[in-house]
Symmetry: D2
Subunit: 340 residues, 4 copies
Amino acid sequence: MINVGIAGATGYTGQELISLLTRHPMARISALFSTTEEPKPIAELIPEFKNRIDLICTKLNLQALISKCDFIFLALPHTVSMGITPKLLQAKKKVIDLSGDYRIKDIKVYERFYCHKQSDKINLKKAVYGLPELYRAGIKKADLVANPGCYSTAAILALTPIAAFDLADLDSIVIDAKSGVSGAGKKATAELLFCEVNENFMAYKINIHQHIPEINQELSKLAGKKLNVTFVPHLLPLNRGILETIYIKKHPKAKNNGLKLLKLYRKFYKKEPFVRILDEGKFPRIKDVAYTNFCDIGIKEEPDKIIIIAAIDNLLKGAAGQAVQNMNIMCGFPEETALG
Amino acid sequence: MINVGIAGATGYTGQELISLLTRHPMARISALFSTTEEPKPIAELIPEFKNRIDLICTKLNLQALISKCDFIFLALPHTVSMGITPKLLQAKKKVIDLSGDYRIKDIKVYERFYCHKQSDKINLKKAVYGLPELYRAGIKKADLVANPGCYSTAAILALTPIAAFDLADLDSIVIDAKSGVSGAGKKATAELLFCEVNENFMAYKINIHQHIPEINQELSKLAGKKLNVTFVPHLLPLNRGILETIYIKKHPKAKNNGLKLLKLYRKFYKKEPFVRILDEGKFPRIKDVAYTNFCDIGIKEEPDKIIIIAAIDNLLKGAAGQAVQNMNIMCGFPEETALG
Amino acid sequence: MINVGIAGATGYTGQELISLLTRHPMARISALFSTTEEPKPIAELIPEFKNRIDLICTKLNLQALISKCDFIFLALPHTVSMGITPKLLQAKKKVIDLSGDYRIKDIKVYERFYCHKQSDKINLKKAVYGLPELYRAGIKKADLVANPGCYSTAAILALTPIAAFDLADLDSIVIDAKSGVSGAGKKATAELLFCEVNENFMAYKINIHQHIPEINQELSKLAGKKLNVTFVPHLLPLNRGILETIYIKKHPKAKNNGLKLLKLYRKFYKKEPFVRILDEGKFPRIKDVAYTNFCDIGIKEEPDKIIIIAAIDNLLKGAAGQAVQNMNIMCGFPEETALG
Amino acid sequence: MINVGIAGATGYTGQELISLLTRHPMARISALFSTTEEPKPIAELIPEFKNRIDLICTKLNLQALISKCDFIFLALPHTVSMGITPKLLQAKKKVIDLSGDYRIKDIKVYERFYCHKQSDKINLKKAVYGLPELYRAGIKKADLVANPGCYSTAAILALTPIAAFDLADLDSIVIDAKSGVSGAGKKATAELLFCEVNENFMAYKINIHQHIPEINQELSKLAGKKLNVTFVPHLLPLNRGILETIYIKKHPKAKNNGLKLLKLYRKFYKKEPFVRILDEGKFPRIKDVAYTNFCDIGIKEEPDKIIIIAAIDNLLKGAAGQAVQNMNIMCGFPEETALG
């Protein structure tokens, strides 16, 4: 039984972490932290937890975090984690950071996309990118896991076999991504008000979103050459879920060569508990992955191009679910624990 | 042709006023004001107005308001109007105030519900309550009209015949009201974020909402005795529209007396252009009144009680539409102008 | 370990039953039935079950149902269950019927509200009304449980202490109920199309809904006299959840008598695992009960009246969740199993 | 003043046509037809028209259509129009067909995408494709106008300058399209039920949608060579609006050549009343075009590719609004009449 702490407990991701961990037989939440000025029962801050979770949430306190917890989830705004993490690691804690702070290995790229200095270069090097399907072995031994971005998780899982085996023109990748509103967090801004989002739909951060360098980093590594995807995210009028429609040209020589991508994908992900390759002619829907840790992938092969559609729940496989999956791996628990 | 100014142009109500007035053949918008620090084209603040309205919006400026406008709509937060209105009236302007500042005649009641001092008692006395179906003659001659609250409009129209003719037990009135989110305005608060409202529904300000004294004031006046309704508002996960379900006991002696309320309502509202009494067995739906200035009313008569359902668009008959209807009356324009 | 069958597996309630039962350590789904003409994997009919449930769904077949299952959930349209249930009981099966067929003890009342003959009077007498908070002992010994209606569950739980202890004027009960769309089932009718429900809200079956006799039956029993509630259901533009706002006059003599209802409710429901009485000033929200088996109850006491608000997930505490709770009781399993 | 008939008056498009035409000073609706068995007031079939439109809707009757109307809108399911149109044209009526029947000039292509024989080849030749921005002169003289598909309208307007002036690699066009649910019409199918669409998002008819041949036909004509776009439509959980995100590679030689597309687009569409080219850094949102006849276009130019985003209201510029715009052109009315 491990003692788990959550910093950022009242955000949407923190709330999901709490929900998952209360159902986890080998983990016990021992401390919750948020921006609340005075200590308050979590059920007062998040009413749905009434009669379910009997814990006090306090302002973030490094001392308490270290003394009460063996394992720590940081569900904090970008740039905050890197101020805390060195001390947590020094105190021999295991840490999963759900922000973008430790995802980008190239410091210049990080600083360009996040507009902030990377102040913890030492731990950045040790951090393992927490996508179990790619880095399970590394995660197993890691003290610090950088939990992937939600958009990145869907994109990388959808493109890994193609990038790894050079099955198409990797310079032609276009990712048209759509996310539910919880991906934007719980901050009170006018653009996220109900009346602004409901009955509306739009693109944002067009080809400049901070998940782009993450996708490029991982796909480039798989491909063995520098890739640069086109990526446009959109805001869907629904609470949770991401769906990405991905377009790739085939290699010119490969036209009509009878590639059987579906078969290959099915084989590649055969042992993965949370990747579902859909049957021919079937495609992902957000409702089929919402409230689950699955990533659904559907493929349509045309003579000259490939269309891949992937869907996840942005708060689960795209954040808290994947974090618990990583915790399970890091702690030697069965990987699906609390995620079924 | 009158020159019209709007203070509070970028809120949801202000935006509707702009939309309506640009279609009005006898009114010309001559000035727009909001909280913007620097003057900006309204189409930059509200992108849907691009190529439709070519006006600059500036910070509220009394001098400009007075010099540029004959007729002024104040779509400002509660308590702001009463600081400006005296000067506007002194400058011989006609004013429609869409806030609650001039609706409640009893100062003590006002101060209890709005938690703010009433500082303009003189004009409060002159202000006419802008419900055309009740006060058309007064509105015609008024310089200051207090535009009714959205919930109040539906409730009062639904109950006027019953209160005026003592057709039921007026001490038993229960109003269960449900409103779309635009009724809460455009302020950025966490409770109004998309993810908090979507897939959610709840009551709020239970029997303490500030529209209660308005409803009591008008119904009491009609009944000739002090009434006190029970009123619970709820927040609907949709943009615009109010539906109120109203329950009234019949007079004990009146049981089964064959009252034909529907007929009576139809007769009472016969000449009203914006009240539709639905046929027997038909009841209002928000979608039938959304984007219109109609108030739909349906009635079900039971042996011992009456159930009345009323629906309006909270931004139109509940705010901007009714304000333009009042302007039409005050200026001698055909009452339906720009509202069809 | 019991073998469980579900008839009506592909409706919204059936689907929830499957979800719950796959997480149940003492129950094994052994047979699924629906209207499908040809046998099909359930994951083909309900794609979200892919890689989660590996079962074939066939057309309803009494023989198979009896031979494969010990315990049977009937999630069928009203009037279908009563044709099957006698044979299931004869074969010594335990049955939970989620339709309205066995809920109403007074046959005339049943036939008036359901417009259908009651053809199984014998088992109707034996059927226990499956509200554990009222009939736990009876459910424990029952072979046939009539699982309550969704609206009825919330209304009866909200009103039981008041009815049982005569704490208010029981002839004055008004229930204004609002339900998400899944309550209407999955039948393809024009009124339930997305564009008809979205951005819309309306009342329906005004004071004639088939859950009224259920509420009256149970409250009358508690009160020891015939009660007749006023009940108006409304259709909310959201998937799941019911919220009911209930208005009751206090006894005339009881005005201002300092009744402390909240305290009393808290005591009454103290040991109930799925009833949460909210603190003073707090009221239920659909989002706090969605995807849970909780019934949340909030109370506002006024000098002369009581306002009670109750919320449940219509598919869980209002249907499948309560059915599994009943199964747990009938089988001697811990009551909260698979519902946490 | 012309007498206008609408066949298919109770579908979403028919309903919009009625709304628009009742505000049209030079058109009078003289006959409404739908699938209703018995003649009924339109306000009984579409309650929002109560007190607004006093017309009887009857079953489609060619005789009545011809005798009562000069100008006819056919808002019928695909394949129905071509059975009626020849007789209407013979009777010297002007016809706008809102179905796909007369849009595709290549009969083989039509029959492949619509799975139906083209039975009116003679009038197909005469039919003018009703996109005023491309065919205003032809529409002016036409007797039969094929009103464009909703997706096609947005795509063609977004791509016309690029295709006409060969500004990018026209073989690389990828259109990722998203539409509100009203685009699917009012037919009662399980997939369009509220609970199936709400909180869901998915692609459908992946690269096989029937609007593809329309887009290819028009862009090929502009380019002077056969083009073949990649097109994936998705279903948005909202009522009305289409947004398309379009990706095009630049010509290899053209990299970084300082093309100023925005300027060029602004010039190209300068005189178009219903096309708005947004300023640099601004992009379309569905809420800015909903309930209007505008097509908003935003452009992002990257060194090696172009991203164009276009948005329309699928029921207005994508159907009924464009049809009225075409009627205005055909009848010599000011083009913006009833569309402001």
